[in-house]
Amino acid sequence: MAMDADAIEKLIAQGIPDAKIIIRDLANDGEHYAAEVISESFRGKSRVEQHQMVYKALNGNMGGLLHALALQTRIPE
């Protein structure tokens, strides 16, 4: 069973405490999500590094349960 939006948000928030997180369920099927993550801790990091931080927060659930997460990361204005 795939994860739900709350679970995803909680995991990201645990790994990146200052993050503002917006999750959308793209197809209402619990399997395809878009996440926008905004955090000061991303400042100075490449996109790859920023995404890796989010993947790390998701704690290995990425490849397994969550096979489609469209990710956007940015630093706060």
Partner: protein, 108 residues
């Protein structure tokens, strides 16, 4: 007999642009891989497509190699650039085109 790791090393060393994807550039087998192919084709750059569905070891190894959990994965001149999301974002901001220009990879 080269290991999978060596195969990946060689592929990204010997080819300027390498896309590890699901399916082939002519027959992508996943929406994200397809998106990546479309972007590269729009930019009109030659690239090597590596179909990870052909080899389960390769499919696993590339994720460890790049420290990146998903496919597709784009390498430019041996450097990991990102997956479909990053490619799309860089494409939209023109960063991808500029990166290719800087590396003298744009065919014009």
């Amino acid at each position: 007999m080269t290991s999978v790791h060596d195969f990946i090393d060689e592929a990204i060393k010997n080819n300027n642009i390498v896309l590890f994807m699901k399916g082939t550039k002519n027959f992508p087998q996943c929406g994200f891989s397809n998106q990546a192919v479309q972007i590269l084709q729009y930019l009109n750059v030659p690239f090597l497509d590596v179909n990870v569905l052909e080899d389960e070891d390769l499919r696993q190894e590339i994720k460890d190699y790049s420290q990146w959990p998903t496919i597709p994965q784009l390498y430019i001149k041996g450097e990991f650039i990102g997956g479909a999301d990053i490619m799309k974002e860089m494409f939209q901001t023109n960063e991808l085109k500029e990166l290719l220009e800087t590396k003298n990879l744009l065919t014009k």
